[in-house]
């Protein structure tokens, strides 16, 4: 897989031996060609860093409740010498406890919860997308390359799964299998793999007629070699764009499920849960829901802009 870096750059007739470093730099140069893509990747990198550095960045533990700061508005500091509870027992505020983005309905720091909340999102969404892609690519290659009855069956089944409105499918699936991280992962995979399969199949149907595939066939290569070595690497452009979009959509899905109370189980601070927990106070202390909304929207926006920019770049060549 090391040989499959995204490359749609302007025909560099000069470059001779693209090693990993130069290829990496080339991707950066590519981004310069689209301001959309560069802003997009900037936002994504920002959130990845936030998730990694959460223990350093978060001013408070995400479960720390400071009673005096329940539903505090942004920038509020606690009045000194008020009691609140920690794991160790009762403490008294010093007056230095300040919530930059305010407090939620249990007196927790919204900023810290958003920072920690980036983690589950950025672990489970990419994982689910990856899983869905593995399944989708595998099935799509089979259906598109082998054709015949296998294609018929796979296409029909995927049509049926896709005919479910997505969220209805999730609601039903999660009702049946129950709420847990793994179940949600599997539900997302189950729901998005057919879509990916369809895209891959479409690309394969085009690529399988290329002469280099015929050349591989005439020298007796196995189907697996042709599917994974001759065809798949050449489908990577559209797939990378789609993966960015789909990752964004998976993040939305996790958020929506959390919001509906069907998502990653609490006390997980993922952004959808934050909004769900504070929905009842949304109109009196809006900061508790507005900031998580901005967080999730910005991350999805970053991915969508990246996808759009990458598509634009690939169309230019």
């Amino acid at each position: 897989m090391t040989d499959q870096t995204f490359e749609t750059g302007p025909g560099g007739a000069e470059e001779r031996r693209p090693n990993a470093l130069i290829r990496g730099l080339k991707i950066l140069a590519l981004l310069r060609e689209s301001w959309m893509a560069s802003i997009g990747i900037g936002i994504v990198i920002f959130w990845v860093l936030v998730a990694i550095l959460a223990p350093v960045l978060a001013p408070y533990p995400y479960e720390q409740q400071i009673g005096p700061l329940v539903n505090a508005s942004p920038g509020t500091c606690a009045e000194p010498d008020r009691p609140y509870f920690t794991d160790e027992g009762m403490e008294r505020t010093t007056g230095d406890e300040c919530y930059l983005l305010g407090g939620d309905n249990l007196g927790r720091d919204i900023l810290s919860r958003i920072i920690w909340g980036a983690r589950p999102i950025l672990i489970w969404a990419p994982l689910a997308t990856l899983l869905a892609y593995t399944a989708g690519i595998f099935l799509g290659l089979l259906a598109g390359y082998k054709r015949g009855w296998l294609d018929d069956i796979l296409s029909r089944v995927s049509d049926i799964i896709l005919s479910f409105p997505v969220l209805v499918l999730y609601v039903v699936l999660i009702t049946v299998v129950g709420r847990s991280n793994i179940n949600i992962l599997l539900a997302v995979t189950f729901a998005s793999a057919p879509g990916i399969m369809r895209i891959v199949r479409g690309l394969v149907l085009d690529l399988r007629n290329r002469d280099y595939v015929a050349a591989a066939q005439t020298r007796g290569e196995s189907s697996w070699y042709i599917m994974f070595v001759e065809i798949l690497p050449n489908a990577r452009g559209p797939l990378i764009v789609d993966a960015c979009l789909r990752l964004g959509y998976t993040i939305i899905t996790l958020g929506v499920l959390g919001f509906l109370g069907l998502g990653l189980p609490p006390p997980d601070p993922n952004w959808g849960n934050l909004i769900a927990e504070n929905r009842t106070v949304a109109l009196t202390s809006p900061q508790s829901v507005v900031f998580p909304c901005i967080a999730i929207s910005s991350l999805v926006l970053g991915l969508n802009m990246l996808a759009d920019g990458l598509r634009e770049i690939s169309l230019k060549d």
Partner: protein, 695 residues
């Protein structure tokens, strides 16, 4: 030619410069272009891909797109400066005074609008008083004028419901509806089959006679230009390098590039052994990498350092009376009689034992018809007879050409031979092994590597995400030629040497290569396992003329060296005549005629062969050609005519017998065979299609 001094030219272009703008730079596409077209005159603009000829056409229409811009120069239409015109004025001109015919007729017509409506728009928008009924009547009349039978039906059809040749006739009708003074034709026949092309070319010639329309004919094909034009401008890398009356360009070319081009075209006098083609070395410079001075000097045999590569070269009048001009400093210094050396003739190769034999081979594809009528009548499965009774032999070291138009079954045959499909009847044997029903997986590695293929489309033949060397190395390892890493690498390099590519290409990716270079790699890959038979499926048809000659030459050299049997699949009679030892002519899945090249290209011919020969334009003024234009479209393979498949278009059709009975095969001594109802004696009495004037 017929323009006199008093008549005002229809079109006059002076000092036109056009550039394209990319983010990186300005790329000049057309440089210092001058052209004058007199009323009724047909001027050809000829050149290889990327020379800027189509850009000129679009500039005349003032339709440049967002990236292109006219930098300098003037375009005058009947004395009016087009550069000064408002959008309004341009709109009045387009489609009424200047009309255009395009390369791909299918794409040029609106897929969701009926043809009649598309035609009617022209008079409706250009003639204020024109009513719907008038427009409809005139559209139908014009369709009849371009010899489309059943005009009423065509008017009501959508573009995809008629054939490619008919579509192009519709486009021509659309262009002529407003009786324009100038007609621009941009490669109008490139996308069509040869016999269909011949009909369109004749139509265009008739039009210019009938309507007196001036024409600018843009093409890469010198033969077509000779048949259609009075004067011709040859372009190379953005510049006109030579302009002259058409006969003078062919008989007295003065620019080394023009001469070079003629050396690359397989005209009837050429022969791979006695008079091989002489390719132009090097490659077309990319627009942003043009050399200083003359654009052609890096490829020119008459280059003089310090002169050709220092100054920009003006277009100079070399013969005032005939109107011949040339962009070369040394046009009157070069002694062409000395120049034509460097290509030696060789004896024909030895032909050995039979390597490949097909006996009444058949390939049928089932087609499922899911219409209600078909299901009810129980005929829901029909068969496409892609190959019917294919019999021929190919010997060691021999070049056998399989020639025919689209749908003739030549590619299907290649697939069966390669083991991508299996035959449904008859027998196919390779070195006495029966391979009729053996797909690749059932064949021995030895057989697989002995039967290899060179593909048609240079942009498709190599995997874009692997290096050139990696792709060749894979073949070497797969066939077990070498297994040791260093030895594999060595073999890769020697194969690159074999196809005359620099060794460092091994590390390159396909997109860094030109079309010709990619085809060379494709050839190297096919020869990696020392094959006994190589099938070349139109290996050069997508390449420019000068590159074609080089790649064909290379293929022939390698074949000769390894005594490989070459099955050359092509639609181009010119190339076939040049390089084949034996020719098999196919039509709708059946063999019409086969024999040695000389036998097939001389009477007795099959009437289809005769028509094919006549259809191919020849870039040689000394050749006289009989004009046979086939009526009607190519039938569908799904529903081929009964009896002789050619009977629907055959100009020599005898009568009912042709429609009912499969013709018997006339055989002569050497295995020359013709499948026709006409008695052999009569076939023998036909005059040859091509006559070369005594030199």
């Amino acid at each position: 030619m017929n323009g006199t001094a008093s008549t005002e030219p229809v079109l006059q272009i002076d000092g036109l410069n056009i550039s394209y703008f990319t983010r990186a730079a300005e790329i000049p596409a057309v440089i210092d272009f001058n052209l004058t077209v007199a009323p009724g005159e047909a001027v050809g603009v000829v050149g290889e891909s990327g020379c800027g000829k189509s850009t000129v056409a679009m500039a005349i229409m003032r339709y440049m797109g967002s990236a292109g811009r006219i930098m300098d120069g003037s375009i005058r239409f009947k004395g009016r400066d087009m550069m000064e015109m408002s959008d309004e004025e341009l709109r009045d001109l387009r489609g009424s005074e200047i009309a255009m015919v395009y390369q791909e007729p299918m794409a040029a017509l609106n897929p969701s609008m009926k043809i009649g409506r598309q035609l009617m728009e022209v008079p409706l928008f250009h003639e204020p008083g024109c009513t719907e009924d008038d427009a409809r009547r005139r559209a139908a009349e014009m369709l009849a004028n371009v010899r489309l039978p059943d005009a009423e039906r065509v008017m009501e059809a959508y573009p995809h419901q008629i054939s490619g040749g008919q579509q192009q006739r519709v486009v021509i009708a659309m262009a002529l509806l407003s009786n324009p003074s100038l007609l621009l034709l941009d490669e109008p026949t490139t996308a069509l089959d040869v016999t269909v092309e011949a009909g369109i070319v004749q139509l265009i010639a008739d039009i210019s006679r009938q309507f007196g329309t001036a024409m600018v004919y843009i093409s890469h094909n010198l033969g077509l230009i000779l048949e259609t034009c009075d004067r011709v401008a040859v372009m190379y890398s953005g510049e006109v390098v030579e302009e002259a009356p058409v006969a003078d360009i062919f008989d007295r070319p003065q620019h080394p590039y023009t001469r070079g081009l003629f050396g690359c075209i397989p005209t009837p006098g050429r022969d791979k052994n006695a008079r091989p083609l002489k390719p132009i070395r090097g490659r077309l410079p990319l627009p942003h990498q043009r050399p200083p001075g003359c654009n052609f000097w890096p490829r020119c045999d008459h280059f003089e350092g310090g002169r050709c590569d220092t100054q920009s070269i003006p277009l100079e009048v070399s013969d005032d009376t005939r109107g011949h001009s040339v962009r070369c400093l040394r046009w009157n210094e070069i002694d062409w009689s000395l120049a034509n050396t460097g290509v030696e003739s060789r004896p024909p190769p030895e032909v050995g034992e039979v390597v490949l034999q097909a006996d009444e081979m058949q390939k049928y594809y089932p087609v499922h018809d899911r219409s209600l009528a078909a299901i009810l009548s129980g005929r829901s499965v029909r068969y496409v007879k892609a190959n019917e009774d294919i019999s021929f032999v190919a010997r060691k070291g021999q070049t056998v050409a399989i020639v025919g138009e689209s749908g003739c079954g030549k590619s299907t045959f290649a697939k069966v031979l390669m083991g991508l499909e299996t035959a449904t009847g008859g027998k196919l044997s390779f070195n006495d092994d029966d391979i009729t029903t053996k797909v690749i997986a059932d064949r021995k590695t030895r057989q697989v590597r002995s039967l290899q293929m060179v593909f048609q489309n240079p942009n498709d033949t190599l995997n874009p995400s692997m290096t050139v060397g990696g792709q060749i190395a894979r073949v070497i390892r797969k066939f077990g030629v070498e297994t040791d890493r260093a030895k594999v690498q060595e073999r890769v390099l020697s194969l690159l040497d074999l196809v005359k590519l620099p060794r460092d290409f091994a590390k390159r990716r396909p997109r860094q290569l030109s079309g010709g270079q990619k085809q060379r790699v494709g050839i190297a890959r096919a020869f990696a396992g020392n094959p006994a038979v190589v099938v070349a499926d139109e290996p050069v048809s997508a390449l420019d003329v000068s590159v074609q000659a080089a790649v064909t030459g290379l293929l022939m050299d390698i074949q000769r060296e390894f005594e490989t049997t070459l099955l050359f699949i092509s639609h181009d009679m010119g190339v076939v005549r040049y390089l084949a030892d034996r020719v098999v002519v196919m039509y709708l899945g059946q063999i019409m005629e086969q024999g040695t090249t000389d036998e097939v290209f001389e009477p007795p011919y099959h009437p289809y062969t005769e028509a094919l020969l006549s259809a191919v334009p020849i870039a040689d003024t000394s050749v006289e050609k009989k004009n046979i234009v086939l009526e009607g479209p190519l039938p569908s393979v799904l529903d081929p005519p009964k009896g002789c498949p050619f009977n629907t278009r055959c100009p020599r059709k005898l009568g009912a017998i042709c429609e009912t009975e499969r013709p018997a095969v006339h055989k002569t001594v050497n295995g020359h065979a013709i499948a026709c109802h006409i008695p052999l004696a009569e076939l023998e009495s036909y005059e040859p299609v091509i006559k070369t004037a005594a030199e």
